[in-house]
Amino acid sequence: MSESTPRRERVTSPRTSAARAQRVPAAREIDAQTLLGEVYMSSLLRSQLRLALLALATLAVLVGGIPLLFWLFPDLTDVEVLAVPLPWFLLAFAVYPFLFGIGWLYVRAAERNERDFTDVLDRS
């Protein structure tokens, strides 16, 4: 199916009435790739990319900073947390709940971005 041919399912499927009712102007702006449609799309893309970069930056600073920290302050190796050496405590235990936490917050925020996008398209 190329760009020029009409969307077949709109006339062949018996269930298209529901689908057609949802086709709102904002969605049509995106389909037609008008300037307004581009604004809708790039705002979704930018909000999702900003979120992804925020998650990556958190990971890079807090986990990626560990080698630098121990390189700058080698004495930290001798610190013990709950009778475990600090590097071992960080890399063998503490890092995993932290990674899951970032992921959990990311999924929540990403789904909220998508809900906002859907709402904007439904309201218009």
């Binding site: 190329s2 979704l44 630098l68 890092v95 996008f117």
Partner: protein, 509 residues
Amino acid sequence: MTATGYSLLGVTAVVVATLAVGAYGWRFSRTTSDFFVASRTVRPGLNASAIGGEYLSAASFLGVAGLVLAFGTEMLWYPVGWTAGYLVLLVFVAAPLRRSGAYTLPDFAESRLESRGVRRLSALLVVAIGWLYLMPQFQGAGLALAAPTGTGTWLGGVLVATVVVVNVLFGGMRSITFVQAFQYWLKLTALLFPLLFMAAIWLRDGAVSPASVAVGSGNAAGDSWTSPLAGTDHELYTTYAIIVATFLGTMGLPHVVVRFYTNPDGAAARRTTLLVLALLGLFYLLPPVYGGLGRLYAPDLVAAGRAESVVLELPARMVDGTLGDLLSALTTAGAFAAFLSTSSGLTVAVAGVISQDVMGRRFGGVRAFQAGAVVAVLVPLGLALLTEGVGVAQAVGLAFAFAASTFCPLLVLGIWWRRLTDAGAIAGMVVGGGCAGGAVLATLLGVGPGGWPGALLAQPAAWTVPLAFLTMVGVSLATPRRVPRHAARTMVRLHTPEAVQLDRGNPPR
């Protein structure tokens, strides 16, 4: 019954259970879509277990404990990186890749960049990375079976290859999904259960810290063992190169990416990845403890050069009598589950590419997939039998650095930057893959120089990944006329939630 008998029994049980669970899935496999992507109906819970089972390979099950035993805390960066790689995959790739509607990485590359050339190069890279990763699995299986039974090292590899081919031939992706979900939990149990007994013994013996004893010639004792920096020279660079390779390489592994197409939609792909993060974090708590206890109870393995078998031998050494032998048999069985599940996933991924891009025209659908699976297994099995010298960890490391330097920039830029062109993608993958592949090959062949050049060649990801990104961006900006005609439409398909009624262009096939 002897310790060897128990181990053989354990391996046999895993093989039989794998075929039985696979047979449960065979009943549902009817169509080509079943074979490739399990008809995209796998729920997040089952799918996350399957991804975990597929991802935790010989390197995770045996390698991590052995590396921690021999080298110490710095080696914890590998399991941390393999988990964090899933976080990077989650935030940049998971949902858009599922929404792209493609079966394989070459499908994604072709539909996004509208170019057959990018497709062919991606197919070549998928097969290369897949074979590079399959080879050490077969070698590891040979070593694991040879240790307790005294058979030739070829037997384990041939056994794993046979079971994988049978399962893939009859069930494809659907049956593999059940097999791998089962094997995640098997691997977790196989490590956790013996550990409960061993931890009790360790506490009874006075809970001596592994960091307080010296092992081997003393080069890895005390301070050095607890230091989180890798190596002795250029330790900061080497550590960051490992971090870049593992954090960014995960998304480029073909068997990881092919799993995302089995999710029902983009949101489910995200939730699946989040569950995978939890499952991996849970599993990776265990192997380092084996490494730590190994320093106290099996330090001679380091000097003997058999640190990787610490997971297999430690239970029998710490727990007396039949119980110890049984626990060691359990970890041997778990190791076999690791070889089987990773090899299955890689075989499905490589077979999908071979059948679509090499023989798709001559055969059709399921037949081509089955023929592809046979080829996908036979070549690396032959390589594994011919080249026994290359280490398991080295080959896996090469695969990660290679994937990070090729598919990572392709996926990240392809998904988030609409001005990427086919010429840019090809140039970036050739430069990144060429430099990373050449660097590690030079190290493996022993022609690497010392000092800084040696460190740069041994762990190349820290400079090859930025280089690949820069090349891709630079060449794309220099060829603005080659921006794909439907790039804007493809972006709509990649990023909008499925619930919205939009024109998403043509999904691939």
